[in-house]
Subunit: 596 residues, 2 copies
């Protein structure tokens, strides 16, 4: 059940594909060089491998539990959270001004991957706290920032995001929680929030709930939603804790996976009103939430990468150990380790290829985010921000969708043992299943990718990425060998498929939205496969050049790129057909509701 952070692979991606050295030239990131990265990743790997990974099974067998409104985290989690906090891990990417470490997102991202690979349930608490910190930094007053952010970074307090209500999931227009002004600048909140991750627990002294609610006379729909901060314990002016606020956990959910992460139903205001304060301006809550959500969605994408890598590591270990059947080529007369069987190889290579491609794409996105924040030139900042925002729904949607396939293959590699809970492979399969759902389902990501990210600028960002892919295809052409030949062929095909899909989306979203949105998720997957393949091609180019320096490591990069080219990229044309068929979405929509 162990987890070894793939530091060498991570550093390869950071340095060779995401441009760590360029990031370290940005103002304020001067210390974020390769040495720093190595040191930080090494320490993170230690904490994740030694402290958090061993608690992962415990969390599944002994989930966080509710009693009389009090939630007790899985045994061991509180102490682990103390170590996590004392190590400063919550603050890696947050500003020095609020006692964070001020490191680039590119450097925080592998730490987040490790955290999630080692213990998805545990990692959700810092993930949501990061969300609360982002929201406060985005829209909070200076006083709110000073009061909350250092405590959230130190781990004394944690944060939550309260969006969902029973009738309002993907559709936040339906939020009904009320916030009534008290005349003293404060509000009293009334309502029920569900699916609140780490909404109640005993790992920290206080919990800062960020809550979407409506003020009286607010406009209907999404334009009448405001963002409030509602602490579990009220905060005195000196920062000390005051009375218990009127927000209570009335139950936690019994879930398929991530069982150690308590998913709370929170009742606001059943005993007179939960005291909260507005963050930013009234009725702009959803807007702030969207800024924050890019970070949260990116982080959930990293959960997909992390759990995929964990499942891969476990499957490899089993496949090397389990002896069963003779080789199909007759090369041995005895039964051999199953990793020697071609189909097991195919499964492991699929798991590996998808994990590496999704990791690379995410790290590249993180680098765009860093440049968008720190580059001295405004046009550069805007350009990289647009690239980051284009990639976020793909990182979120694609990395999580593929984590289901990867963890499922992980079970399959284990054969019958995979279905036995003691083995542990099934936990990854169960845990992963939430990832394409929360923080916006894959369909929500795909709608975002189409509407805000592709159509709004007339496909400009999409086409600039396609031009970059085409340039990589060009560069591949000057190289010899089967890996290059396959990559060139299938990446070029993939580039053409994605181009066709972008053109179709740009041309038809306004006139025939049903036809376009019928292919929204295939469009997102196509973008993931092709842009992930692009990163594999870039890795191939680097690896071929450096091969002699470390033949095993770079040879594996070459082989994995070839595998991805021959076994993953060909799916692009099938997805293109689904999106850009002659009839658009006709067959998706042909059945009437009654005919289902």
């Amino acid at each position: 059940m162990s987890y070894t952070a793939p530091i060498k692979d991570m550093l390869f991606v950071m340095k060779e594909l995401a441009g760590l050295e360029d990031i370290a030239t940005l103002p304020g990131f001067e210390d974020a060089n390769l040495d720093t990265a190595q040191a930080v990743l090494g320490e993170s790997a230690k904490l994740c491998g030694e402290v958090l990974a061993p608690l992962n099974v415990e969390g599944d067998r002994n989930p966080s539990s509710w009693r009389d409104g009090v939630v007790t985290a899985t045994p061991g989690f509180k102490e682990a959270f103390r170590q996590f906090s004392e190590g400063g891990w919550q603050g890696v990417q947050h500003p020095l001004d609020y006692e964070g470490q001020g490191l680039p997102k590119l450097l925080a991202t592998p730490c987040i991957e490790m955290l999630n690979a080692s213990n998805l349930s545990f990692a959700l608490c810092p993930l949501l706290t990061d969300g609360a910190i982002e929201a406060l930094l985005t829209a909070g007053s200076e006083a709110q920032k000073q009061t909350y952010v250092p405590k959230l970074i130190s781990g004394e307090w944690t944060g939550t995001m309260n969006l969902t209500e029973p009738q309002a999931g993907s559709d936040l227009a339906l939020v009904r929680t009320r916030a009534e002004p008290q005349g003293d600048g404060s509000f009293k909140l009334f309502g029920t929030k569900i699916f609140i991750t780490w909404g109640e627990h005993d790992m920290a002294k206080n919990i800062a709930h960020l809550v979407l609610a409506r003020t009286p006379n607010a406009p209907e729909g999404v334009k009448g939603i405001s963002l409030f901060i509602v602490p579990k314990f009220l905060v005195n002016e000196d920062g000390s804790l005051g009375e218990r606020n009127d927000v209570h956990c009335v139950s936690i959910e019994h879930k398929l996976g991530i069982k150690a992460s308590p998913t709370a139903v929170l009742q606001f205001g059943d005993h007179g009103g939960a005291i909260g304060h507005l963050i930013g301006e009234e009725n702009r809550g959803l807007e702030y939430m969207f800024i924050m959500m890019n970070a949260a969605r990116f982080a959930v994408g990293m959960q997909g990468v992390g759990i995929s890598d964990r499942a891969y590591q476990k499957a490899v270990a089993y496949a090397k150990d389990r002896v069963q059947s003779r080789p199909v080529d007759g090369s041995a007369k005895q039964s051999v380790a199953i990793i020697q069987h071609p189909d097991v190889r195919r499964m492991l290579a699929t798991m590996r290829g998808l994990t590496e491609a999704s990791r690379a794409l995410a790290y590249v996105a993180a680098a765009h985010c860093d440049i968008a924040h720190r580059h001295p030139d405004e046009a550069q900042r805007a350009g990289h921000q647009a690239l980051y925002e284009f990639l976020v729904p793909i990182v979120k949607g694609w990395s999580t969708e593929l984590s289901i396939d990867v963890t499922s293959l992980g079970v399959q590699v284990h054969g019958g043992m995979g279905f036995i809970e003691e083995t542990g492979a099934a936990q990854y399969y169960r845990d992963a299943r939430i990832l394409p759902i929360y923080e916006g389902t894959t369909a929500i990501q795909a709608n975002d990718l189409i509407g805000r990210k592709t159509v709004r600028d007339g496909g400009k960002v999409a086409k600039s990425l396609l031009a970059d892919v085409a340039a990589t295809v060009e560069a591949l052409g000057s190289q010899q060998g089967p890996a290059f030949e396959s990559m060139k062929k299938y990446l070029a095909q993939g580039q053409r498929s994605l181009s066709a899909a972008v053109d179709f989306v740009v041309a038809n979203t306004k006139g025939d939205p049903n036809a376009v949105f019928a292919g929204s998720v295939p469009y997102l997957k196509l973008a993931g496969i092709v842009l992930g393949g692009w990163q594999m091609a870039r890795a191939l180019l680097v690896a071929a050049q450096k091969r002699d320096e470390d033949p095993s490591f770079y040879g594996a990069k070459i082989a994995t790129a070839q595998f991805y080219a021959e076994h993953v990229l060909p799916q692009a044309s099938a997805l293109e057909a689904s999106i850009v068929s002659a009839k658009g979405g006709e067959s998706v929509l042909a059945l009437s509701e009654d005919q289902f």
Copy 2:
């Protein structure tokens, strides 16, 4: 959590695609006409919908339990099993001579689908009993048949298959259980068997364990394995029960799904030896098992179809009920039922299309099995037997692999609620995960499809099926309209892809087995997608002709066929690329063991 058997769809497939009326002309099947089928399916649907389906959740929440060697089935199961047995459902397809109903497999198959859709855990007990009956009918002595088969059919006793041991899963050559002759025709068995489905329980008076074991001096490997029958209670000459035999359940597994089905570890001979009798001849156990296994594998394929349909029904009900978000085309200003959103439609249509295609392919296979058993002409029998045997690994492998995707989509349609166990969608996702593993993993099915079913006859059967597909493509060409155009285009492409794969497999299995077996599972999936698509095309031809008789029903068949053509069949070319790439399996095998 209800289940309504799709009788109309089932009868459509039986009549229009699988040739029920031709089956009813075979000797002994004269009564198996459409009226009989309607009556039988109606009764089966009643039992499954009213008695078994409501127990499905109960089985998940309150699994069968072990205590001191005794396994108690989930509350309600014993009574349900009594009703199942009294209704004669165990005997539907078994011979009249042994108190079965002697009906065609084509008629038994929808009953088996319903049973599995309503309650996968429950259905496993009859499934394994069917296996034991098949084995006895195949290789048992007349006395053994008379002693056991009627009791198994009546439900007084149940049956199990004991193959797996801790070191011997897919690789039965490694079986170590010993059988020592006692000189009186009986044997004493010693060993441990694991993963024995319904290996111990309280629903029947006795359990007939069929056990693979080695006699002294048996050859090593698969040629030294014999088949024994080892009853839980010894059977006296008059058929009454005698002493408790020395086979004991020492534990049951804690599993990801199918929790009501006890998966036993059985210890044979710890107290002096478990008394058993040889079935058939010594050292021919595996051969008998293979004959029996076709039936069991086919049945597991039906489990895939059944659970897919159940997940589909649940997702449709939720999608019609759950109101969330406005339509993307602006056709309403209010939030609407999510079934109106194109991506939800796409998910439901995918679930529906895959379920219908896999059902149709399985029923067609069942009809081949019936003809193979009953046709008066020997050549006809042999030809249909070969077709049936070709289709069995596809029905098993493809229907179960797709059931993972379908049940996963079922969770996704439910959004956050899908991840909550109370909702019920997650159970299907967990339950389905065993299907591509037991009764031979998908890789084992794929090896069988390649080795015994494609290469052994030089691709003859495969090519005869491909010719039939081509004839259907021809027939589509004479018709007008978008469904026909799409189906013609993509089925023709699929036919070419499968042809190319068959040629590759036939040409290279001997010379370059690693290259072929690296694409074994993609080959199986390709065959499933194309042959399933062929059935959808045949359905389309019938539906177009009959459309005016029942516009809603046949219109849905046409729309579903078009959807399958445009969204499923295009995957064929991607699979072809995986199988028949220029480099064969090179990239699958390029990484050394150390590089993983």
